[in-house]
């Protein structure tokens, strides 16, 4: 069912709208007022992003003049230089990348392996129950278990990015297993049987045949894990005890307590923390929209 739902946007995004319009012109008229209203609505999305961008490039004197919407004049990169040093940007970026890459890889790998084992042994009670056990965690939000988790990770030496990877992966697991098992149901058993006849072991069948087939769902699972791990504030701020190892979103707290009037610095810092995800999205938007739609409709 997901395929029928997601195919239309794909075909629309792949064809330039202008060409499509010309092809259909005899039948369809463009809704001009509708377009105008939507463009105006999009201002609510773009305005805060524009303010972030323009504030980041202002000189300190212009940044405090109270006008958030003016264009930077003169253009200054001083904010970026200071933000780079104040927040320890290179280390923060490394930590964010580490947490995100670790969470994405671990979620895809563990969820795919577990889902495969569960679906191929569904008639066994242990595997069936494991499925519902893992799924049950969808009902346990992080705040409920945060306090004991802070204590346990502290005691086990996991009060660092590695602990965040572990916990973030486990909170993504339920949803990801749900997506993978639903997708595995649609893969015909004959495919695997022919591989077995050729003498492949279960592990080989999984790595060479099943895991590549799961790629579209792995992308969906990966996108959700990425968005969660890259943007989350609550978990790293509570689990990582050493400020030197904090991720980028948590480092922005600095501007709430100190340097709170150095707006060009704080906005340059916000921009550097937001930009990687936005740029990555702009290059992969078709995938992201498809993947999220697929995940949301399945989930």
């Amino acid at each position: 069912m997901t395929t029928t739902l997601t195919t239309p946007p794909r075909s629309e995004t792949s064809a330039p709208s202008g060409a499509r319009g010309r092809a259909r012109k005899p039948r369809e008229r463009w809704n001009r007022p509708g377009t105008l209203v939507l463009v105006l609505c999009s201002v609510t999305v773009l305005l805060p992003l524009y303010v972030t961008l323009s504030m980041a490039f202002k000189s300190p004197a212009q940044a405090v003049d109270g006008n958030a919407f003016s264009l930077p004049a003169p253009l200054s990169v001083q904010g970026f230089v200071q933000a780079w040093q104040l927040t320890g940007f290179p280390v923060g970026l490394a930590m964010s990348l580490l947490v995100t890459a670790g969470t994405v890889a671990a979620t895809i790998l563990l969820a795919a392996l577990a889902s495969y084992a569960i679906m191929r042994n569904w008639e066994r009670r242990m595997f069936r129950w494991s499925f519902f056990y893992l799924l049950g965690a969808m009902f346990i939000p992080f705040p409920v278990v945060a306090l004991p988790q802070i204590q346990l990770t502290g005691r086990l030496g996991l009060d660092n990015p590695a602990g965040v990877v572990l916990l973030a992966t486990m909170f993504q697991l339920s949803f990801s297993v749900l997506l993978f098992t639903a997708f595995l149901r649609s893969i015909p058993a004959e495919l695997e049987e022919s591989a077995r006849i050729d003498g492949a072991t279960t592990a080989q069948t999984f790595w060479r045949l099943v895991f590549p087939l799961l790629a579209p769902m792995s992308a969906t699972v990966g996108i959700f894990a990425f968005l969660y791990a890259w943007n989350d504030f609550m978990m790293p701020s509570l689990i990582i005890s050493d400020p030197a190892l904090q991720t980028l979103p948590v480092r922005q707290q600095l501007f709430q307590t100190q340097f709170s009037n150095n707006y060009n610095v704080s906005f340059a810092s916000y921009l550097m923390a937001m930009a990687p995800a936005i740029v990555a999205y702009l290059f992969t938007q078709r995938w992201v929209m498809q993947g999220v739609t697929q995940g949301a409709v399945k989930g």
Binding site: E123, V144, V145, T202, F233
Partner: protein, 306 residues
Amino acid sequence: MSTLTTTPKGAARPKRGAPHHTRRVEPVYYLFLLPSLVLFTLAIPVPAIIGIFFSFTNSIGIGDWELVGLVNYVAAFSDPAIWQSYLFTFGFSLVTVLVVNVAAFLLAVGLTSRIRLKVSLRAVFVIPMVVSGIIIAYVFNFLFSNSLPAAGTSLGIPFLSTSLLANPDLAWVAIVAVTAWQAVPGALLIYIAGLLAIPGDVYEAAEIDGASRAQRLTRITLPLMAGYVVINVILGFKNFLNAYDIIVGLTNGGPGTSTRSVAMTIITGFNSGDYAYQMANATIFFVVAVLIAFLQLSVTRGRNTL
């Protein structure tokens, strides 16, 4: 584990004519499943059980403790701060769900109609989904405390000329606005998928029968989209109940404690010596979450045909 396969029920299966069930489970499957099961158990159920246990003690998070029975629960139920946080969280969630779904539905209708710039507009409206909640809250914090009051003063609107975030009665409006700003894209994508799944000939038939545009929307689109609305409302409500990042970035629970969510209240148990007390609160919150989940299951059951 192999004992499971020799239980009476397991042994009875082959008789029902499924010969492959008698095959032993290949050990490699356990190897695939166990890492997830073990790590998951250690990461979520074990802390949950520890937390529930400590909710019956007087622990402050470190050092000695003793069992105190239901004292924490009794205290929590008569604590105005906890009642206030639940009231705020539920009220905020309900309003946000409403705002998000109305906005996302209208945008989805617009973005699937015959408009120009369709692809670019869709891409723009999804951007908030990839932006960090705490950072965009900091950006909006600046706008609400500087730009909006400035605009309010120059336009002569008294209630806008002071910061929204400093007003205990109105700070929640800012939180709803920013949360909705970020949550609309997720709901929007689901609504777009739903709208594109409605076959076009339904509308053509209605048009031939003389249905107006408004009639087509209320008589065809809305009923056909009911399932998607239910899903969006439930998913959204579940997320908003755990609100934390955006509130920290906007008001940090203030002014006073007027915008402190349940999640934020629980986390205060981290350093304040209220560990056991807030674990009782967390356990209550967990029961609430489970109740909502069951409500969700009973509502969505039978809607899998989406």
